[in-house]
Amino acid sequence: MKTRSRDAQRPDCARSVCPYCAVGCGQLVYHRDGKVTSIEGDPESPINAGTLCPKGSASKELVTHEGRLIWAKVRRPGASEWERIPLEQAMDEIAERTWASRNRNWVDRDADTGERIGHTTAVAHLGGATLDNEENYLIKKLFTAGLGMVAVSNQARI
């Protein structure tokens, strides 16, 4: 009488994970023409068995609401408004500022002992608990192992 739906294997359904708390509820993300049409709990997940809390249940609105940012913007020093900026230009400028601030404040060696320190504390980073592991990995690899930034922190300092 009842059949397993296996919605998860439909081409218009992606298997995802809720972006709110750390319980890690499975989500089925239904989409059509490149737009999310509905998000429900994944019934096969041993974590949530298809259920979702009010936040998880609101995930469709989270990803589709009109308040989401879609364009890169910049606020120039002293300006009172945002201005649009092409994304590539923004990336170039951010790279230039990172490069300049880091180089200007580079500590190569300890002034007293001469021991190599190889870091900068003048460029900092905050955030990570909402990002993917792969993203955090790249952040740490570039910022710390590449650029020598040590002021790297996030919400997870329990």
């Binding site: 998000i39 068995a49 298809g50 259920t51 609101a58 308040g67």
Partner: protein, 299 residues
Amino acid sequence: MKNERGQRHNYVERGVTVGFLTDPTLCIGCKACEVACKEWNDVPSDGGARAAIGSRSYDHSGDLGASTWRHVKFVETETEEGLPRWLFLSDVCKHCERAGCLEACPTGAIWRTEVGSVLVDDDRCNGCGYCVVSCPFGVIDRRGRPTAEIIGSIAGTAPSSGSSEAVAGEGGAFKCTLCYDRQVEGKIPACANACPTDSIMFGPLVDLKEYAQVRVETLHQRGVTDAVLYDGQEGNVNGIHAMSVLVGGSVGDAAGDAADLWGQPSNPTAPYAYLAASWSSALLTVVLSAVACWLAFVL
């Protein structure tokens, strides 16, 4: 009994009457049902009135209405030992066995589906509001423009404060559809699907009734002696398809105190009862008039 998530039923095909059993002893007041309902059914925001705090506890949705098809009511009370007791119950349209709204609808916009639920056909509703006054539970309502300051207009689904913008479906009558579109697809309603603790149970009505009896007995054995089943057998609706276990009333009380506490009529009576009486008296009047005329004629 359990909610069959991720499976396809064929209740529509087979004409199985389905319903809900909502159990506050399992409810954590999270309101997932309210959100899941609105997300699936694209119901606009209507709650969020500021300063609705206080005696309503964490409840900002207020009541069931045209844009609130699931509503979690919060009751703050205390135990005999003087400790807090906080009760939650998710309320919904009862899909009455004999539905006042349906019987009152002059355009035939309200109909009963294959699964026994009561559904409003938006296209045929002319917004007359007869159904609104005919619901003994105060469920169905016409969608108006909110008067209070409403939060959450950014999503484009909600009218902003004092909005002059039209609301989708404004003027028409709305209420829970028991997710009829999901029933057709064989999926359980969005609220029951989301409910993290299975406080909202969905299934064939006969199974739910059986389960409800067992549940109430189990609760009594566990010391929840004030648990009663609210199934609309009193009054004239001939039973409801969205039943609840109620707690918080007097022990041994059929459902009276508890019903009062949760704002439910203990004796749900649709106006067709009065209509029947009116028709009887009208008929009597006709008969008496006829008799009087006849007598007058004869005499």
